[in-house]
């Protein structure tokens, strides 16, 4: 199969006409998931050669695949965007046909599940995960092994595993990439987790805005059931496990775990105070393990490599914004931001310079250009006043007004607030009003200090993570780009 042409038909290349190329093709083509540098799409690959089928500026794509291939541009395997990656989670993404379980099985899917079931030692699996130091990839970075051990230790015959696939940060599309490109790796990771904690029922909560991911997950779940990798007595063992797909209804807050639980139960997607944590009282009151897509995606690779070879692991980022080359990349944990943004992403457009990199979406903050040598890991980014987040990385060049950016994120949080607690429901509205006032140059120094103080109140007093982190984009830009705010004050105010 290695010399068969692989064409990316995932969301990004699809939006650039990949499906039309697929229809207008005479040769055998294998549909695959994301190949990486989305901005060069549509992308194809032959063996280890990556081809950009992107037409020149005044042309249109195609019309046939042959015509597109004739004009294609090869992206060298030595290109830093490809070379500096370490693909563990996305190892088979862009290689396997996500719609074909036989292809996935031929390339090693479900082998780790089989090995785990053959060894029949759940606590050994948890111990491996704990020793690896794997932390939750959804953004908060909770130690995965500890979470698994907690759920495993809970009494009760019935437990549940939930995969949080409600990826909603603006500029984040890592989880979508894995679901569209290699759903079986995700299913295998979830099944291994379920075996480790003793759960028989699994749920994948995926947002409705990801129709292709939903379709491919449905296909993959059905195929895995048909091949005996999900369902009763998996691989001849005593382990039975079923996965149900639950589709969200468009609320960002349902990515918060307690709101997600309510939504799975068919109730209003509203957070509740913790404790009790889901490990104790989760879906339908069962002890529940909730992890993000990428966290589960790490498990098969971790078990295959072993703790030593796995090392510090990787992080998948979706690089986007004012950068020359955008797309999905998986890099070793601790890679400097500068390597990702400048070396791999090619930096800002000619004549422009990078002002900041936004990580963690509405819950995160900005890293100023002066701190680009920071390694990407949980603690370094936290020290800068932002968070690792789920992996959205938005590059901002010197044309960006940071107050404008903060207002964008606050408007997002205002729109997505569930309305349960007052600081978030009413506080985000007042925060946006204050930011708009500043942007319209009607603001005073008093408004600026009120903005800051209200940010702290909303962060301190809100019920769930959405409200608690909603002011972060404001606080982070105030910390690193205060001059952008001061410039907007009425002239008399600055002189005062």
């Amino acid at each position: 199969m290695s010399d068969c042409l692989r064409l990316c038909t995932a969301a990004s290349c699809r939006s650039r006409g990949a499906l039309a190329l697929l229809e207008n093709s005479d040769r055998p083509v294998k549909e695959v998931g994301c190949l990486g540098p989305c901005s060069e799409g549509p992308l194809a690959a032959m063996g280890d050669q990556l081809l950009s089928l992107q037409p020149a500026e005044n042309e249109t794509v195609g019309p046939t695949l042959e015509a597109a291939l004739a004009r294609s541009r090869q992206i060298s395997a030595e290109d830093p965007f490809l070379k500096l990656q370490r693909r563990l989670v996305l190892a088979r993404c862009g290689v396997v046909d996500p719609g074909c379980i036989d292809d996935a099985l031929a390339q090693g899917a479900y082998q780790q599940l089989q090995a785990v079931l053959a060894a029949d030692d759940p606590s050994a699996v948890i111990e491996t995960v704990r020793r690896s130091g794997l932390r939750g990839r959804g953004g908060a970075g909770y130690p995965t092994g500890l979470k698994w051990a907690t759920v495993a230790a809970m009494p009760g015959a019935r437990k549940a595993v939930v995969c949080n696939a409600d990826e909603g940060d603006p500029g984040a599309f890592m989880d979508r990439t894995l679901m569209e490109g290699d759903p079986h790796t995700l299913l295998e990771g979830i099944a291994i987790a379920a075996f480790a904690v003793g759960a028989k029922q699994g749920y994948i909560y995926v947002r409705a805005e990801y129709p292709l991911a939903i379709e491919r997950l449905r296909t993959a779940i059905a195929a895995a059931e048909a091949h005996g990798w999900l369902g009763k007595a998996i691989s001849g063992s005593r382990f039975s496990f079923a996965i149900e797909l639950r589709v969200g209804a468009g609320a960002y807050v349902c990515g918060e775990e307690t709101a997600l639980i309510h939504s799975i139960e068919g109730r209003r997607g509203v957070p509740r105070p913790r404790p009790p944590y889901p490990a104790e009282h989760g879906v339908f009151g069962l002890p529940t393990l909730i992890n993000n897509v990428e966290t589960f995606g790490n498990i098969p690779a971790l078990l295959q490599l072993g703790v030593e070879a796995y090392g510090a692991g990787t992080k998948v980022f979706s690089l986007t914004g004012h950068v020359q080359r955008s797309g999905v990349l998986e890099v070793p944990m601790g890679t400097p931001l500068r390597t990702i943004v400048e070396t791999m992403g090619g930096g800002a457009a000619p004549g422009r310079s990078i002002k900041a990199v936004q990580t963690g979406g509405p819950s995160g903050g900005c890293v100023p250009a002066s701190a680009l040598d920071t390694p990407v890991d949980y603690d370094s980014l936290k020290a800068l006043g932002t968070i690792m987040g789920s992996g959205g990385m938005v590059v901002l060049d010197d044309t960006t007004n940071m107050v404008d950016l903060a207002a964008f994120f606050i408007a997002f949080s205002r729109e997505e607030s569930c309305g349960k607690c007052i600081p978030c429901r009413s506080g985000t509205v007042q925060l946006e009003m204050l930011l708009r006032k500043l942007l319209e140059r009607r603001g005073s120094a008093a408004d600026l200090s009120q903005l800051e103080s209200l940010c702290h109140t909303v962060a301190d007093a809100s019920l769930c993570g959405l409200g608690q982190s909603a002011p972060k984009p404001v606080l982070s830009t105030l910390r690193h780009f205060r001059s952008d705010y001061l410039e907007l004050l009425q002239p008399a105010e600055v002189a005062r």
Partner: protein, 243 residues
């Protein structure tokens, strides 16, 4: 039954394990402000007025802000209920409530007997530092005996909970989200058209403001009766029906 000892505002307090910090403080005559909480109903920790600073119990050096209504007392906890930081949060929360509604005390049925009004006095809110938003809100007068004025609703959801948990009718719920949240009856129908309503009036009795009211009441005439709920819940729980 095991007992734990904790310290609230430099006072040692001993309570049965599992007691909430709110109960523990009230037993020690330390008042913690609340709006969404009502004894007899489940706690939802939504109004955030009962936030207290807790340190000690779980090894955190930095005090954590926890809602007293849902946090269980634990051995060795140190609780502060009225620090400047908490007082600033409480005043801001009350200001946020006033700015998102249309609270005109002078013409309100609950004037003088309103928990929101009392709370504003308690937290020292003589004016709002944030601008009033004057949202356009409606009034539902379709029910024969009662009315619902959304202008005065603070979305505490006491009505939702009392109707669901005590009356068992679940007439009320919350519709929409964020700033657009509104208490809805039935499936968003006029209250008078909801057949599930038993006209018991419990929602009116527990409403902290003038949002739910008897139609016969005019300015200053509404008195809430949360004690009726508490008597009923006590009677049911302990099977003691004589007063």
């Amino acid at each position: 039954m095991s007992v734990c000892t904790l310290r609230i505002n430099e006072r040692d307090v001993a309570v049965p394990t599992g007691t909430t910090l709110l109960e523990a403080a009230r037993q020690a005559s330390i008042p913690i402000p609340t709006l969404c909480f009502l004894e007899g109903l489940s706690a939802v920790a939504a109004c955030r007025l009962c936030l207290v600073e807790v340190s000690g119990a779980d090894g955190h050096a930095e005090p954590r802000l926890l809602a007293a209504c849902v946090t269980a007392a634990a051995e060795g906890m140190r609780v502060q209920t009225h620090t400047p930081r908490l007082q600033e949060i409480r005043r801001t929360v009350v200001e946020l409530l006033f700015t998102e509604g249309n609270h005109v005390c002078a013409i309100c049925v609950a004037n003088g007997h309103c928990e929101l009004q009392n709370m504003a006095v308690d937290v020292g809110m003589d004016h709002s530092r944030l601008p009033y938003r004057f949202p356009e809100q409606s009034v539902d007068l379709s029910h024969a005996q009662f009315g619902l004025d959304h202008n005065r609703c603070i979305l505490c959801t006491r009505c939702v909970r009392v109707c669901d948990e005590v009356e068992g009718a679940h007439v009320w719920d919350v519709g929409w989200r964020g700033e657009h949240c509104q208490i809805i009856s039935g499936l968003g129908e006029p209250w008078g058209a909801v057949e599930a309503c038993t006209h018991c009036g419990k929602c009116v009795d527990v409403c902290p403001t003038g949002a739910l009211f008897h139609k016969a009441d005019t300015s200053e005439e509404k008195h809430s009766h949360p004690e009726r709920l508490q008597t009923l819940v006590h009677a049911r729980t302990h099977q003691e029906w004589s007063p």
